[in-house]
Symmetry: C2
Subunit: 470 residues, 2 copies
């Protein structure tokens, strides 16, 4: 509970216009993009600068008030749901691109910048910021850093972590630290930069970031390959990589996803195919042409029913947009959509998709699968209805089996969505008790009063996942 005294001090720090504890104001921030999770905060604040955030954290630390930093709330792990009440902290005043440094190939931003705006701004200078999470039109870069977001170009270019060079961070005790620099090499002490990337707001608040850029690839080509069976698609992926080609994008969609996307986007996708690969390569024109030619050969030799290259950039963009729309397309079909991101070594994709289908059948559930084949990062998506308690119990069991299978195949319970509340009960499968204990020790050392986004990453006693909080 926020005392009257603490409330008054908060208002003094951020100004009354940046403090809201009206019922409607709180309701808006009681949930994020994750289905099934809702909890009311006690206040929503929008500090104007780092110093205000420092004062807010000092106050929260003194009064033991939970604080949840929140970008656009597009995460899928209930990472920004204020499950323990307290304050939701918004970055609407920290939303500027501070500098694009063309000599050092960096961009310095405040956390509230929208990912797509950043992407566009640097591309105008002939530079490139590769991470492209599906939510990039809405998500903030601060959210991306806290979740270590992936995207469709991850196979070739890596994830958000690979592009964060420096951070300004306000620690739980209110101290402001700066990590890293415009430096490719920096080994002055522990790698706090990367410890904070993906820490889901549980260790401190990121207030500024310097990101690495690369030259914008000269050209890009897109192809679509259809298969009548899954194994053939998986074999194509293996063979492309065995040929020492690293495509930018290697996306996989199964038949149910394909049908849903086509119904949604209507761009003439072959809904009779059992699996589709969306493959892109970028780089110098002559290399892209050579790689694409070789990829087409490989897909054909692995029994692709058809392989089509996008003829125009509009056609290519339509294909990419269709893939990005997969979640929205599936979400229309039943009341509740639970999107997971079990991830396996790329060599295990066919086995994993087969296992998902068998598990879906066993529990009589509707599960569609799409994802990033190059990364082994799959998105089994269950179309269900939370009002049906009996069905939801089956969903729980099915996902537990899916995660166990991913771990068995050398994979992980989450490739790019984060742990949040949703995956916390399963974290031990991946890390073991000793691994979780090590992470909890780090958490306690930096946030002894557990004010930073409490209840995330580390599970309480319950093993149940789909729970409406509070």
């Amino acid at each position: 509970m926020i005392s009257i005294e603490a409330r008054q001090k908060l208002i003094e720090i951020v100004g009354p216009e940046n403090f809201d504890d009206t019922k409607v104001g709180l309701l808006v921030y009681s949930y994020d993009a994750t289905p099934q999770f809702q909890a009311m905060p006690e206040a929503v604040i929008a500090p104007r600068n780092t110093e205000e955030i420092s004062k807010v954290l000092k106050l929260c630390n003194e009064y033991k008030i939970p604080i949840v930093p929140r970008g656009s709330g597009t995460n899928l792990c209930a990472g920004t749901c204020p499950t323990e009440g307290g304050i939701v902290l918004l970055f609407k005043h920290l939303n500027k691109i501070l500098e694009i440094d063309e000599e050092n190939l960096t961009v310095t931003v405040q956390p509230g910048v929208i990912t797509l705006d950043l992407t566009i701004a640097v591309e105008e200078k002939g530079l490139f910021y590769p991470p492209d999470p599906s939510s990039m039109k809405i998500s903030t870069i601060g959210g991306n850093i806290n979740e270590n977001s992936g995207g469709l170009r991850g196979f070739k270019y890596g994830v958000t972590r690979d592009y964060v060079l420096a951070l300004e961070i306000v620690l739980a005790n209110g101290e402001i630290i700066r990590t890293g620099g415009k430096l490719a090499k920096d080994v002055a002490g522990y790698d706090l930069t990367r410890l904070f990337v993906g820490s889901e707001g549980t260790l401190g608040i990121i207030t500024e970031a310097t990101l690495k850029l690369i030259p914008k690839p000269e050209t890009k080509k897109t192809i679509l390959a259809h298969y009548i069976d899954l194994e053939a698609a998986a074999k194509s992926v293996s063979k492309i990589i065995a040929s020492k080609i690293i495509p930018t994008t290697l996306e996989f969609l199964d038949q149910p996803t394909l049908e849903a996307v086509e119904a949604f986007a209507q761009i003439g996708l072959p809904t009779d195919a059992k699996a589709v690969l969306l493959i892109e390569q970028d780089g110098p024109a002559e290399i892209v042409a050579k790689d694409i030619e070789r990829i087409i050969e490989i897909c054909k030799s692995e029994n692709a029913v058809s392989v089509e290259a996008a003829k125009t950039e509009e056609e290519a963009e339509a294909l990419r947009t269709a893939r990005r729309a997969a979640l929205s397309a599936l979400a229309r079909l039943r009341p509740t959509t639970i999107l997971e991101d079990a991830t396996v070594p790329r060599s295990e994709i066919a086995r994993m998709v087969k296992a998902i289908n068998e598990i879906a059948e066993k529990y009589k559930l509707w599960i569609c699968t799409f994802g990033h084949a190059g990364d082994g990062n799959l998105h089994p998506t269950c179309l269900t209805d939370t009002r049906n308690k009996e069905e939801i119990e089956r969903v729980e069991k099915a996902f537990e089996e899916i995660f166990a299978k991913a771990i068995e195949l050398g994979g992980t319970i989450t490739g790019e969505h984060g742990v949040g509340v949703m995956k916390a009960p399963y974290l031990e499968m991946k890390l073991g008790q000793a691994g979780i204990a090590a992470m909890q020790a780090i958490k306690s050392s930096l946030d002894p009063n557990n004010i930073m986004n409490p209840g995330k990453i580390f599970a309480k006693e319950t093993r149940k996942r789909v729970v409406v909080s509070k």
Copy 2:
């Protein structure tokens, strides 16, 4: 002090043939490649497997015995000097390449594998492990991971950190954890993998690592450009990058270094040049040819006196070897060589080299500078003599000013050598008190008894650097 009881238990764990506390045995491991640091350990052990290491750490934790994991001891920060006594732990039994996975593009190794052996083994399969520290013929991969080693290819390909996908770690309490996987994407909790990379053996002992590989570049070309002034060389670097070319290697040598290298290697380097750039590009043949042509144009337009392309692979290798030999070449000239690695944003290189020269002149010291221009990672190298106390005092003052200048220009006190004992007194310049406090909190949380390589990274009261310990 290791008690008789603890000694007996250690021998039981590793076997008498893997335990040594003879005076001569201890002496060998009383120093590493860092000049000026020596301290006697109380025992040297070589466990045969992870389980033995776990037992050793449990014992050390119980008896509060310092333990220093050591690869080949090639580090330049006294990181493996047992300054607080205790045990030096060797990896001579953990020296196997366990698997090269061509489908997932990974290699799994034990920490004692020599870096060059790893490089050769994967290249035989058409794969490529980019990090190439100058010590790679002798250094172990475990040492590289603990120091987050860089190398000559860092500008294009990044450093060791960027290639570590998974670790097996024995924590200070003896628990064995596994982080990451053969996975490009994994956000299951905090990034322990990267927290341990570069942690200099202060958080636990790495007993296995899975590293990312990439396809081996098709071809490589090497050129050498000579300049009569430093600014022209720096401008060439800026202009190459502004042209959106990212060369594999962009090495810089100043005139004194050049002279020393030529005297050592005798390959006909132009010793009258004030600065030399060694530039390499790799990749598909047609792109390399185009890039190299453009780089030559740029160097010429920026007043390079001459630009020569290596005509044969032998010629190119001679140039690379000469650059790698810089430290050895300089080390011949005076009794003591102190090699530093102050690092700045690449745009600040000319300013930094100018400042180094001015500081050398001010303190009447012989400082040669070479390094990785693409990364802004410079190696000002002081040729001195520790027996001359008055001169060494000037060396101290000069390096303190060099570090201060690097920080002022947005850089860091160490780009790739690590903190160890040597840089510990300067760490606060980079991180501030709050940054150091955060790192110390993490250290204490994972190693509460401070048994893991104690005395490294975090300075004691002294600010003096060149001190013979104990």
